[in-house]
Symmetry: C2
Subunit: 368 residues, 2 copies
DNA sequence: CTGAAAGCGCTAACAC
DNA sequence: GTGTTAGCGCTTTCAG
């Protein structure tokens, strides 16, 4: 079909080794021969076959990205970041969607391991990370994003979830809310757990009771967001809801709509993750935004660093990305206080929320 | 690292050919030996290395999916359909996002061709399809989705865009609208052009003037949707807008919001493509839904059929999928007619809209 | 029915 | 500096 290294060698009247050396710059080749080789390559339109190279070198020049939900705009942005990195380095990228299914995650891991992928970026379905064991035992380069895993030391990139949730909750408190419901996503995932922790800390630091009945847990899906919201709206006195996940926020809105609950007139809503529709909604949504593209981009950085390092062990690295609160229309003072002057109790992320030592300073964002 | 076919052969006391034959079922192997081989495989946890196989067979057991916008939920669903097909057949899938950039499309095509991908599913950035020339010349199996290309004969799967647009427009006419704006997406793409054609036919068949100034063209992005909507809202007498694209519909809503235009009180809005947020919006959106998952799934079918067929030429196939109008809250009678009884002129897709001969009967939908 | 051996395209010793 | 050659792991003739 297409020309091989042998064809080029014959054409240029040199050995295949010389062609290889010219192509890869692995050895010095005299200008004379190099010239001929380049010529032959151009004439035949030679493209080195990555399969041959892969077999020989034992690596495929391909990395894998395993994400839990391609429908979630957050992960789409993460994917863009990783994609950019792979393209820059002329690496192939295989993106997989587990739909939060650990079995599918296990399937993908083994299937990609077979394919001799050079490294993995993954947002695991569970912090236990049994699904990633084969990877780690195999010693494959791995970077975990969005969700940290327990026990094992691996490179990781994640948001300051605790801080972001604190800020969101404190913002609601600052508006005058005293009874704030929580819609929590999938249990057993560090990002969600950290957000719940931030919510709790904010209540405690502002001398508000932590009421377990005001905390609904679901599965980071639209439907579950809707049912969680419905439960919370049944509690008397509730004037605000903090939703810890993109998709569940959407569900909460569907629920509001169904029940005829006006936002922010009846109840305020603040979500985690910004999205394209968040600002188009009526009301537009107040959210805690993450640096999604940056998360993927940094993960790519770490991964390629690890790949470059090869088998040598190294101390693992953690990159924590700051979140940013974007106030919009879905949050307002509670009905009882409407019209009275605002008691601004807290809008910053609070004293205990120490800045991350490893966070990048420059905030790179999606090119789009 | 991991066990090779040689290890298995030694362990089982047979030749590597026998192991290969057992693994692939390519030749009959006596029960006795087969037994031993299976045993050895299990003991060593042998996994055939796809790279070796790929090199030998000249195919990679991987297909590529090239899509123009991963942020668009429509394409995410298409991707799910293709993904399912690839997984069923134990093929790898490489998904690429061109962001509607022809140069990026060209890059991906050449890069994937180098990697000896076995087949392509692509939604091209332009109907001219210069970007796909290398593919076609190379004879690589190819299925085009969502957007047809001109001139070349290739397998294709697409929606009945003309019919869907006709139905949308006729629906608005039926509600009493007489001045209906159009937000058109990227020019030079068949799906968009067909939708514009359907809009025109509906106006003509209902004896309404076709006013070019009521047709705004943009680039299938949120921003462009917003600016198009702003232009249209400047036209006097306009009471309804038909948006031919998911993302532009979102932009139109942002624009409405910015300008304080109430929907459907001031102007009705109908979009192409359903999405998760379409039903959560206030107002919820009336849309023409496509069978996105099915589109990807069918494309996978056609592709693997072509791959199985090998180099033999064949007559190309076209699968046309029906659309379905989902009435929600964003469409209502025009302000002037509010309260008067409805003149139901048309809600079906009209007589000229003949059903597709090749459309699948069963409507397979996403498992989620 | 099974084994030996060639070779897919490439890289990396090893020679000269 | 450059060429020769031995494989990477696998499939598939070709012999027997």
């Amino acid at each position: 079909m297409s020309a091989t290294i042998k064809d080029v060698a014959e054409r240029a009247g040199v050995s295949i080794a010389t062609v290889s050396n010219v192509v890869n710059g692995s050895r010095f080749v005299s200008g004379d021969l190099a010239e001929k080789v380049h010529h032959a390559i151009k004439e035949l339109g030679y493209q080195p076959n990555p399969l041959g190279r892969a077999l020989r070198k034992g690596r495929s020049y391909t990395i894998a990205l395993i994400l839990p939900d391609h429908s979630n705009p957050f992960f789409v942005q993460v994917a863009r970041g990783v994609d950019e990195q792979a393209r820059r380095r002329e690496y192939g990228l295989i993106t997989c969607n587990t739909d939060e299914d650990p079995d599918l995650e296990t399937f993908y891991v083994s299937s990609l391991l077979k394919r001799k992928v050079d490294g993995f970026v993954v947002a695991p379905t569970h912090r236990g990370a049994e699904t990633l064991k084969p990877l780690i035992e195999h010693g494959a380069p791995l970077v975990v994003v969005d969700r940290c895993i327990a026990g094992m030391k691996v490179d990781e990139v994640f948001s300051d979830n605790e801080g972001g949730a604190y800020e969101a909750t404190a913002y609601l408190v600052g508006l005058g809310h005293r009874s704030i419901g929580l819609i929590a996503g999938i249990p057993g995932i560090s990002s969600i757990e950290d957000r719940v922790a931030g919510y709790r800390r904010a209540l405690i630091e502002h001398d508000l009771p932590v009421d377990e009945s005001l905390m609904a847990q679901g599965c980071s899906q639209i439907k579950e967001g809707a049912s969680s919201a419905e439960v919370l709206l049944g509690k008397r006195g509730i004037t605000a809801i903090f939703s810890t996940n993109n998709m569940m926020t959407l569900g909460a809105l569907q629920c509001f709509k169904k029940l005829g609950v006006r936002c922010p007139d009846d109840v305020s809503l603040i979500g985690f993750d910004d999205s394209e529709w968040a600002s188009a909604f009526t009301p537009s949504l107040t959210v805690v935004a993450q640096q999604a593209y940056e998360m993927g981009y940094s993960a790519g950085d770490l991964l390629f660093e690890a790949i470059g390092r090869g088998k040598e062990t190294h101390s693992t690295r953690a990159i924590k990305l700051q979140t940013v609160l974007i106030p919009r229309e879905s949050t307002a003072r509670p009905p009882a206080l409407r019209g009275k002057k605002e008691v601004h109790r807290a809008t910053s992320s609070g004293g205990k929320n120490k800045p991350s030592a490893s966070a990048k300073s420059g905030t790179r964002r999606s090119p789009r």
